[in-house]
Amino acid sequence: MITLTRREALAAGAGVLGIARVVGSARAAAATVGIDNFAFTPATLTVPTGTKVTWTNHDDLPHTVTSASPPKLFHSGPLDTDDAFAFTFATAGAYKYFCALHPHMQGTVVVT
């Protein structure tokens, strides 16, 4: 068990506040989505505005990350094994996407 002194606890608290300030500013937060076994994981991701979301393909076959409805806000192009694609969501909303090779693979990014 770790016992914090009063001074250390105060310092830790200040650190948390510091991080919160950075997130609240223009600096982008980050989130990840895995592509495993022909599925986006998590299938629904909720992030604050300004978050950079990175998808990484862990499958043996290529996939894409493609906006489900026109105009296509984002399209990764083919992602081979271990390839990654990132997109920063600047505006709140629900963004549906799918894999253009395997359209039964679908996901949603909810930006709040």
Partner: protein
């Protein structure tokens, strides 16, 4: 003599990555046989289907996809009766790269056969289907500009190559689209119902397994246009295994890949490449390793003899 052992052997020859299928048209009815099985002499017309060569794939279970395609073409070259043509039902490449198209074109070209291609979803990843159409379908009479679909006649058989891999919709299956379906209706109109029809496309036109996207959303519309014909054969790839279904006068068949196998529907968490024990790759390609296990093969079409 109609040797049941030979027929059963052919039945069991459903190894995961075959060289291709020989189709022989006798009396207007196309019949399939595996490459390497006994060929009846004197047939008037045959053709070969290969599929899913996936040039560019280099992972377990196949690090040498050009090698297995080359072997498949080698088998075709050894056929006692030269096929009239070769059909490639898509996923020629793995990532639509120029170098992958180059390799595939060069290897398939060594067959020395009139070859007709349709795209798989792996072939249309760049600039819609345009690079694929320009390279592999340049001589076809396109049903629409860069549409990737066309038809032609050979020895009285009407061949229809369809494209069901572009403009796929989220949550959907393979897709033909209104333009292609309108063209198909016109293409078939006025043809006698007695003319044999061979339709070939990448994704199965019938629903094999919707959970894995193994079907075509508007495939039923196309099939309705084909119902009045007395002999319809629908050839697909995509699922890297042989499946067959007969519905009235329509025979559906999917071909194996020359690259790697995929699991049976629902038999694995995903349709990713099926792993094969090291060293078994070449042996499963060869007909000498075939085992006879009566009554367990799910592949009815293989029981159709070339002569019978």
């Amino acid at each position: 003599m109609n040797d049941p052992t030979t027929r059963r052997t052919a039945l069991e020859c459903m190894l995961w990555a075959g060289a291709g299928l020989v189709w022989t048209v006798a009396g207007g009815i196309p019949r399939a046989s595996l490459l390497g099985t006994a060929q009846a002499a004197g047939q008037s017309f045959s053709f070969v289907q290969i599929s899913d060569s996936h040039i560019g794939f280099a992972k377990d279970p196949n690090m040498d996809v050009p090698g297995t395609l080359t072997e498949a073409i080698g088998r075709i070259r050894e056929l006692p009766q030269t096929p009239a043509l070769l059909l490639h039902t898509g996923d020629v490449s793995h990532l639509s790269k120029v170098a992958q198209f180059d390799t595939a074109e060069q290897i398939v070209g060594t067959a020395g056969l009139d070859t007709h291609y349709v795209p798989g979803e792996h072939d249309v990843l760049v600039d819609e289907a345009k690079p694929f159409v320009a390279r592999f379908q340049a001589r076809e009479a396109q049903g629409a500009p860069d549409g990737g679909f066309y038809s032609f006649d050979q020895n009285g058989v009407h061949f229809v190559g369809l494209n069901n891999v572009t403009d796929l919709k989220a949550g959907g299956l393979g897709n033909l689209g209104a333009v292609q379906l309108a063209w198909l209706e016109k293409d078939l109109a006025g043809r006698p119902a007695s003319q044999p029809i061979v339709v070939f496309a990448h994704v199965p036109l019938w629903t094999v397994y919707a959970d894995w996207g193994w079907g075509t959303d508007d495939g039923a519309v196309a099939l309705a246009l084909l119902r009045r014909f007395g002999s319809v054969t629908v050839l697909n790839g995509h699922i890297h295994q042989v499946m067959q279904k007969i519905e009235g006068t329509v025979a559906f068949h999917t071909a194996r890949s020359t690259a790697f196998p995929q699991p049976a529907p629902g038999a694995a968490p995903s349709p990713g490449p099926q792993k094969i024990a090291p060293g078994l790759l070449r042996s499963v390609l060869g007909t000498t390793e075939v085992r006879v296990v009566a009554g367990t093969a799910p592949l009815a079409i293989i029981d159709t003899p070339l002569a019978g």
